[in-house]
Amino acid sequence: MFENAPLFPERASAIARQVDHLFLFALGGAAFFSILIAVLIFYLGIRYRRRSPSEVGRPPAEHSRSTTILEATWSLVPLGLLTILFVWGARLYFVIARPPANASELQVIGKQWMWKIQHPEGNREINELHVPVGRPIRLTLTSEDVIHSFFLPEFRIKTDVLPGRYSSLWFEADRIGTYHLFCAQYCGAEHSRMTGRVVVMEPHDYQSWLAGEKRGRPPAESGAALFVSKACVTCHRPDTAARAPVLTGLFGRRVALQDGRSIVADEGYIRESILNPQAKIVAGYQPIMPTFQGQVGEEELLQLIDYVKTLKPQGGS
């Protein structure tokens, strides 16, 4: 229903379909109540129109049980419908927020006024995102300057992209095509032109595209090189385990901190640990790690994170 209608956007994913269903439910309810009120106003206003200049209306019944029941009805019925809208919307929101485990991981950096996309195989794109159909894609996004927003209308998703932290977005395209990418958070002069395309291809076309493009190094490899060149390996080694935590298997694991808290080691944690190591000291370690603020750029941080993600325990998957 509503495929390719000129007043309705295309649907490029299953989530898009679910968002549309929720929207149509809400739209139906809104239309119903708007029309109801409009009809009532016209009906009552004409039926009881003033017929002589000195006519007055009949006063309403005083605080009777029926008025209270009426008030209760038109408070509770809307509340019930609103509860449905809330629960349905919240569940969909949680699904939108939680990427599946097997998603391909891409990185996006937004800056005035372009999007830089990095594929794990090493391909880099500007303002374009090529993806294979049927595969869940997870994006890790950050900004180099102001707040932007990565908006894919045909997928019905967006997230603000902030400086100094990571946002996350996932989608799974279920049809071939080219779709819009917009920046949806005002970011300065050329905000309207910070747009691009998402190109969804058949899997074999996508592989050809990957191979055919002049690609750079996969970010995880660049990260491995940085890990050595920035001397991280001096401390984060198995034989110096007393000095610094070993990073094998770190990503996604729960970490116990010195102040008693425990947090999950995600992209944001690793980024913070590089730039501001004193913020979260791992339990049992001294605060001796120096800060790398100013020595690594956003791309390099993402490469290091990608590298740490590859550090899985031996024999593990």
């Binding site: 102040d259 501001n276 004193q278 913020a279 605060p287």
Partner: protein
């Protein structure tokens, strides 16, 4: 004229007719008080924004706040707290003097309150200068060496923001009291009309209470260890 006769004349003048929108002096007095209370609510929300920022950042960076707080001079801070509490006492006594028609008491206590307020501001100015010399004023010349550097800066943003806003209110308060002093010295106030003194007192006590919150939040973070 002898001082008793002058006081009696002043007390007669002190019975003023209410402004034209009011039906009685009682209504005028109650309305003015309510107005001052409502104004103080807005002031609470004004400081409230900064308190909210404080709560958020302290929850996120507790250690930075401990480090920042330890850079403040606790002796001066405690002294200032005592000074302000004393000034609230003298302010309350000033209001009492006005209620009882004691012009000399009113003037004395107003002057004492203003002196104590000025002492507070003087100590604050000294502290600010010290922080400036140490390089703890957020801005291009902020310079803190040590762990937690970026977030200690946030602590000082809140320190200067909160105490600066508070000091501004103190300065205005001292100005208001100066006006009250001039009017009081001329015998404008008495048992029938002391509402402006009462409202000034409310304002002064409010500014004092804000400091009572600021002092532990800024000076006493992590001092129990």
């Amino acid at each position: 004229m002898s001082s008793e006769a002058a006081a009696a004349a002043a007390a007669r003048h002190a019975t003023t007719a209410p402004a034209h929108q009011f039906d009685s002096t009682a209504q005028q007095r109650e309305t003015a008080s309510l107005g001052m209370w409502v104004f103080l609510v807005t002031e609470m929300m004004f400081f409230g924004g900064l308190f909210l920022a404080y709560v958020v950042y302290r929850a996120a960076y507790p250690r930075a706040f401990v480090l920042g707080s330890h850079e403040l001079d606790i002796v001066l801070g405690t002294t200032n707290t005592a000074v302000l509490i004393a000034s609230s006492l003298t302010m309350a006594l000033a209001v009492r003097s006005a209620q009882l028609g004691r012009r000399r008491g009113l003037v004395t206590f107003l002057v004492l309150t203003m002196i104590l307020g000025s002492v507070f501001l003087g100590i604050k100015a000294y502290e600010y200068h010290h922080k400036y010399v140490e390089g703890f004023v957020p801005g291009p010349y902020f310079h803190y060496v040590g762990a937690e550097e970026p977030h200690v800066r946030i602590f000082f943003c809140l320190y200067f923001g909160l105490t600066g806003l508070h000091a501004l209110h103190m300065i205005i308060g001292v100005g208001v009291l100066a006006v009250m002093l001039v009017m009081g010295a001329r015998g404008r106030f008495g048992p029938n009309y002391y509402n402006p003194i009462e409202c000034s007192g409310l304002y002064w006590h409010f500014v004092d209470i804000v400091w009572i919150f600021l002092f532990p939040l800024l000076y006493l973070v992590g001092r129990h260890t």
